[in-house]
Amino acid sequence: MEQYTTVSYKNKKIRKIKDKRKHKEALQAWMFIGVGFILFAVFMAYPLLKNIEMAFMDYSVNPNKPSTFIGLNNFKKAFLSSGVLGESDKFYLALRNTLLCALVTVPFQWFIGMMLAVAIESLSKGKMFYRFLLYIPVISDWLVVAILFKYIFQDTSGALVNSILLNLHIIKEPVMWLQNEWTANIVIWSLCIWKGIGWVMIMYTTALQDLPKDIYEAAEVDGATKKQSFWKITIPLLQSRTYFIITSLIIGAFNVLLQVMLITNGGPMGRTDVLLNYMYNKAFSSFDFGYAAALSVIMGIILIVISVFQKKITNNAKIEF
C-alpha cells in the first residue's frame, strides 16, 4: 500500500514535469509561429470569413450609413434572371467564360508542356538551353505580357500576328481580334497557354528526373521498346504529378483577371468577361461590395470542391516507388 502511494506520487511528479515541459514547448512554439499566425488570422482568414458575412448584406462602404442584412438577395441577383439588363446574364457569361477558359487552356498547356519536358529530357545536348529560354514567358509578369499580347493582336495588318497570318496566306484580310467575342477569347486563351507551357514543362522535368532509372533498365532487358516504356512506365509513374499539375492549371484558369482586364476589360459588351474581373469591377467600380462578396463566395465554393475532388483522386492514384 505504502509502495503504491509512492509510485503514484512519483508518477504524478513525472507527469507534472512532463506537463510543464509540454507547456513550455507550446509557449516556445507560439513565439515562433505567433506573428505569422496573427497576420494570417487578421489579414487573410478574417477577411475571407467576413466576405461570407458581407455576401448576405447590402454592404455600405460609408461608415455613417449602416449595412443591412438582405439574406440571399445577392445570390439571387447572380443566379436568377431579372429582366433584360439583369446582372445574372452578365454573371452567367462570366461564369461561362471562366469555365471555357479552363476547358480550353488546361489541355493545351498540359499536353504541350509535358511533350516538351519529355523531348528535352531525351536530348543529348542543349537541355539547359531550351529549358532556360522556354521558361522566360513564365517569369515575365502578367501585366507586361498582357499588354504585349494586346499589341501583337492589334487589328492592323502591321501587327505581329496579323502580319504572320497574312504572309502565310492563312487569312486574306487583317482580323479584328479584339472586336469580336470569339476572336477576343482566342487572344486571352492563347496568352494563358503561351505563358503556362513553360511551367508545366519544368514541373514534369523535375518529376522525370526523380523517376527510378532501374525500372527502365529492367524493361530494356525484357525487350521493351522506348515507346512501350514511355506509355507503360513513364506515364503511370507521373500520374500523381499530373493530377497536381492539372489542378493547379484549373485553379490558375479561375485566377484569370489581369489578362482580361488589360486586353478586353470584358468587351465587347461583357462577352469576354470572367468571374474575377466581373467581381473586381462590381466591387471597385460600382462599389457593390455585398454582391462582389457573394460572387467571391460562389467562386471559393467552386474551387474548394475542385480541390477536394482532386485530393480524393490523388489519394486513390498514388503510386509509390
Binding site: A26, A29, M31, L48, V138, I139, S140, D141, S157
Partner: protein
C-alpha cells in the same frame, strides 16, 4: 543514324517553340526602340534596325517613374525581408515543436492556399480602413506579408523537416535554446530553400497590381505596376513608351532569373517553381 535524325527533328521542333515563346518579346524590344510609335508600323519589327533610346529617357524622366521605381524597390525589399523572417520562424515552429492546435492551424493554412488571394481584397480593404492603414506602405506591406505566410510556411516546413534532428539535439544538450538552434543550425542549412523563397516573394511583390491599386491612392506613393497599368489606360496608346517602361520593370526580374536560373529550372527546385 535514325536516332541522329530523331535528335535533329526534336531540335527543330524545340527551336520552333522557342521562337514562338520569344517572338513577342523581340517585337516588344524593337518597338521600344522606335520613336513615337503611336501608330503601328506597316510591318512588324522583330530585329531592331535602329537604336533610339528616347522612349527610355522619356519614361525615366517623365511621370515620376524614377520615384515609382524607388517606391517599388522599397516595398518589395521590406516585404521580402519580413516574409523571410516570419515564414522561417513559423515554419520552424511547425516543423519541430509540438503545441495544441498545430494540425488544425496547418490544415487551415493549406486550404487557404486554394483560394485566390484577390477574393479577400474587398474585405481586406475594409479591415485596413478601420486600422487607418489605407494609402500607406505599412498597409500594403502588411497585406503582402500576410498573404505569403501560409504558402511560405508550408514550403519551408517541408524543407526544414529534411534537416537531421541529431544536430540540434546536441545543441539542446549543451543547454542551447530553441532560438540558438533556429538561428545557428536551421537557417544556415536551409540557404537554398530560403533563396528560392526570397526570389519567389521578390518577383511576386515586384509586379503585384491589384492590392497596390486598391490600397495606394496618392500619386507619389504609387508602385511601378500601377504606373504601367495607367500608362496603357490612355486613349492613344504610346506603345514605344509603354514597352520601354515594361522593359525597365522586367530588368530586375530577368537579372535574378539569369543569376539564379538553377533555382528556377534545376532538378530538386521543383517546389520553388513559381506558377505566375
Amino acid at each position: 543514324m535514325k536516332s541522329k535524325l530523331n535528335q535533329i527533328l526534336k531540335h527543330l521542333i524545340l527551336l520552333f517553340m522557342v521562337i514562338l515563346a520569344l517572338l513577342p518579346f523581340m517585337n516588344m524590344i524593337t518597338t521600344s526602340l522606335i520613336p513615337n510609335a503611336y501608330v503601328l508600323p506597316s510591318e512588324p519589327q522583330i530585329i531592331p534596325k535602329q537604336f533610339y533610346f528616347g522612349n527610355y529617357v522619356a519614361v525615366w524622366e517623365g511621370e515620376d517613374f524614377g520615384r515609382y521605381f524607388l517606391n517599388s524597390v522599397f516595398v518589395t525589399c521590406i516585404t521580402t525581408v519580413l516574409t523571410l523572417i516570419i515564414a522561417s520562424m513559423s515554419a520552424y515552429g511547425f516543423a519541430r515543436l509540438n503545441f495544441p492546435g498545430k494540425n488544425i492551424i496547418f490544415n487551415i493554412y493549406i486550404y487557404s492556399l486554394m483560394i485566390p488571394a484577390i477574393l479577400a481584397l474587398v474585405s481586406q480593404f475594409t479591415v485596413l480602413q478601420r486600422l487607418n492603414l489605407v494609402n500607406t506602405y505599412a498597409g500594403l506591406i502588411v497585406l503582402y506579408v500576410s498573404g505569403g505566410v501560409a504558402g511560405n510556411t508550408f514550403f519551408l516546413k517541408g524543407f526544414f523537416e529534411t534537416i537531421p534532428r541529431a544536430l540540434e539535439e546536441s545543441v539542446i544538450m549543451d543547454g542551447g535554446s530553441r532560438w540558438t538552434v533556429y538561428r545557428h543550425i536551421i537557417l544556415p542549412l536551409s540557404r537554398p530553400a530560403l533563396a528560392t523563397m526570397a526570389i519567389g516573394t521578390f518577383s511576386g511583390t515586384w509586379m503585384e497590381v491589384f492590392t497596390a491599386l486598391t490600397i495606394i491612392k496618392t500619386q507619389s506613393k504609387r508602385t511601378l505596376p500601377i504606373a504601367i497599368k495607367l500608362l496603357q489606360n490612355g486613349k492613344a496608346t504610346q506603345w514605344g513608351i509603354i514597352f520601354a517602361a515594361s522593359i525597365i520593370v522586367l530588368i530586375p526580374i530577368m537579372t535574378i532569373f539569369i543569376l539564379f536560373n538553377k533555382q528556377f529550372i534545376n532538378p530538386g527546385g521543383s517546389q520553388g517553381a513559381i506558377k505566375g
